[in-house]
Subunit: 327 residues, 2 copies
Amino acid sequence: MRDVAATAGVSLKTVSRVVNRERGVAPDTSVRVTDAIERLGFHRNDLARSLRPGQKTSTVGLVIGDVGNPFFSGIARAVEQVARDEGYMVIAGSTHEDAQHEKELVATLCMRRVDGILLVPAGRDHRYLLAELAAGTAVVFIDRPPGGIEADAVVVDNVSGARRAVEHLLASGHRRIGLLGDSTSVFTAAQRTLGYRAALAGAGIAVDERLLRIGPHDAADAHAAARELLALPDPPTAVFAVNNRMSLGALRALRDPGRRVALVGFDDFELADMLATPITVIAHDPAAMGGAAAELLFRRLAGDTGPPRQVVLPTRLVTRGSGEIPP
Amino acid sequence: MRDVAATAGVSLKTVSRVVNRERGVAPDTSVRVTDAIERLGFHRNDLARSLRPGQKTSTVGLVIGDVGNPFFSGIARAVEQVARDEGYMVIAGSTHEDAQHEKELVATLCMRRVDGILLVPAGRDHRYLLAELAAGTAVVFIDRPPGGIEADAVVVDNVSGARRAVEHLLASGHRRIGLLGDSTSVFTAAQRTLGYRAALAGAGIAVDERLLRIGPHDAADAHAAARELLALPDPPTAVFAVNNRMSLGALRALRDPGRRVALVGFDDFELADMLATPITVIAHDPAAMGGAAAELLFRRLAGDTGPPRQVVLPTRLVTRGSGEIPP
DNA sequence: TTGAAAGCGCTAACAT
DNA sequence: ATGTTAGCGCTTTCAA
């Protein structure tokens, strides 16, 4: 910037004025400065800029489970869109569902002085965020609520969605319904398992714990777990998969044409309607969730200081075939 | 940091030493400082840190087409992984295949002083990067080569992959092969169209331009275009789709069970093997591409100053059924 | 082992 | 309409 000033024969402040489009610069001076900027290939250093107190970095942090998972990339897409409209950039990182990793990512983002953080938490205790919150960093939780602190959150109605799924299977006459449950440390998976239990309880059916497969975390694990279920002496006639990875695993295990096992999955996914047996799902909208969270964050950044808000998004049952297979 | 120094009763520099784990600090002094840091919830300001000349920001920029597209999110995932291992964060943005948008994103990243940029370019002219390159910002192109400048690039062998796809259809006896071609402004789509033409030329078949649908850009466009193809008086017996979005569109148009139209798509995708008719594809590995590009970038950041390198990754034909349907 | 002073690139406040 | 000065939070000499 100093070089530009020297080249244009003006002071630093004048260059600053031109760069930031402040008014009160003579047209010809402005042109001289613009020329110098062009000639020198100058870019304002936004790091130095945001060093001044009271300045924003115009950056938000996004912490998700895994960019490679379409559920999370759907969120990321929506967040990026909103951020872009607000003139913000997004720094993103994946936790791979590791609480320690989540903390490290958040710490790194704070050192980078992001104005706000959008967080799909992996851990359950977020008291480590108290200092940041107090320091004025806006934080909005996505998909899973905060633990140990009060903060904004946008989540899905997991329990009733899962309950709905299982009730749908019960309505078709299923009585032995398996569960592919992901790791209990994943909040949504735990909630959906509760919904599963609630539906069975509501129908007066005792839960057969042998039909529960808690623990598998990726599609390959889920595949193995689903095979185990089918290999039981008295296998389930239907399966509820708590998320898209579980559904994928289940699909591969269930495709054996000899047996017709019903399947309902939580999370919709691309091509679910194009499969040999189209998949019935509890659908919700990751993009809407990401968008709502981003909107909430920017409202905070714009000065909204109301009490923490919790937005709960609805789910809907999409029947496509796999969930309507009779026992 | 000043507060920490005051609280611990030491100088700024001593705090700096402790924070950066420099040696030459008495153990008890170090403890006092660490306590103060803890008590004050202090985080080093990495922005200020990287303001000093010669300092890195430990940040790389990633410019892709669209995080929501699994092809790009596969790249992003691999890049993030490598960056993480190197202690870097990733700032990402999507161009939505708009050249102007690409330039703006790159400019923003430069203002944020990223150490390097990984770029899936939307435009064809990258001379605007010359100043940055000269200023020492490392740039690696992904999926599409640079235009007008010399720079590292990791790409896929598009022409021969596409040629292979079409030759596979020709080998089954197809003579009227439609093309779903995406926008010509997308480099890979253009290259794959060349491969299509080359295969037909090699077989001595004149290209029927009415079977080419150039222009559709998302799956919905592709769906409409595929329907147009099928509605022709003399429709194609096979279709080559130049990328995953085109394949998705084609799929939905072709699922009418009454007619059996063969399909080969460029880009593999999740569940391609689980569809009613499993899809034959020209597969390659977006993650490998992203990973290789990131490795190359970090080698540059580590001081490698060799001539620009171009890495060309192979493709492979994966036959699953849709490409083996006879005419 | 510790500290003082200078300065990175920028902008806010205050001249001129 | 333009310039001067100070200082953001840190690290880098250099000195004690």
